[in-house]
Subunit: 198 residues, 2 copies
């Protein structure tokens, strides 16, 4: 875990360095030295706060959870339909997506979660942050009558699972499914929208 | 790649041994020795046909692609709605699912696909087999008027992505989302069903 008295700027630098190194090398081939190469501050500082690559990755995941939930929830709460479309646009990955590499790496981290407690806890926090954010958007839409009276958490879980799964098909395997997936989630969101009551 | 003249029973035994070892140890910690431990025939035979763990895994994935497409397509083609529900029931994983462990391992393999050609080709074959099978089921349903006139491949890709993504949430992280995911895909399949025309 990150030290509580670590300077916020230094934490941010660590998170950025891990993200770059992880997107480039994946988890298995990642080393603390490769993270240090991407770290802009003193390497001594990095090793002062973290002993292992898993601890550095946990610091990145903690920051990603904050960032994702703020970013996903940061979209216009007055327009839940637009908010949900923006969230899907962000969460469904294509090979050209800025976060394509890191999405594949997170899929690799997830596969280690059953055996690795250091990774499991922050991954759970990250995924829960995404699920809660999407649930809140759907719930707001239902409450405002923009969406049909669907079950917000079931809808959010299904949509998040589809977004997570898109990484393997569209990015890792580079299958020609980007248009299909976009059409799929667009039609799904369309189907949530309540019929206008004239 | 597997040797073309390998005995079919021996190929089957290799696939079973890889599946057991992979589900138990994951990819990173898997060794040819661990696969050999699960192999029921002569170890010498195993090493005669395969040099590396990746080649053994490719043989397993080849067989899984055949099995999945036969199994998914094997369900009653006269009832596309039931076929799609059966496919979802099979593809969405819970921690109790017989294939929960192997699903997490396949997620790990997928994360290596961008760097590993030996794994990439059979993973692409497996994922394509699943996508084609689901597409055929949806297309049959649309053709028979059981489903609304949705785009079969987009619908299938979206549903397969959701099933793939369920592994990370429900199995690897053991999030309490099994009921939500079931409710989510059930509602989605319900939404595909055409309104009865009286």
């Amino acid at each position: 875990m990150t030290s509580p008295d670590m300077d916020p700027d230094a934490r941010e630098s660590v998170a950025v360095a891990v993200q770059r190194a992880l997107a480039q090398h994946g988890y298995e081939r990642l080393t603390t030295a490769k993270i240090a190469e991407e770290y802009e501050n003193s390497e001594a500082g990095l090793y002062y706060y973290f002993d292992t690559k898993d601890e550095m990755i946990a610091a990145f995941l903690d920051r990603a959870a904050d960032y994702l939930s703020e970013d996903l929830l940061g979209v216009d709460a007055d327009d839940p339909e637009a908010a949900l479309r923006d969230a899907c646009d962000f969460l469904f990955r294509t090979p050209e997506h800025d976060y394509a590499g890191i999405a594949v790496a997170i899929m690799e981290l997830l596969s280690h979660a059953p055996y690795n407690e250091t990774l499991r806890a922050p991954l759970l926090e990250l995924e829960t942050a995404c699920l809660d954010a999407l649930t809140d958007i759907v719930a707001a839409g239902v409450e405002q009558g923009v969406f049909r009276p669907v079950e917000p958490r079931a809808t959010a879980a299904f949509l998040l699972a589809a977004a997570d799964g898109s990484t393997g098909m569209a990015v890792a395997l580079e299958m020609d499914v980007n248009d299909d997936l976009r059409q799929g989630w667009t039609a799904y969101v369309d189907s949530l929208v309540a019929e206008p009551t004239d």
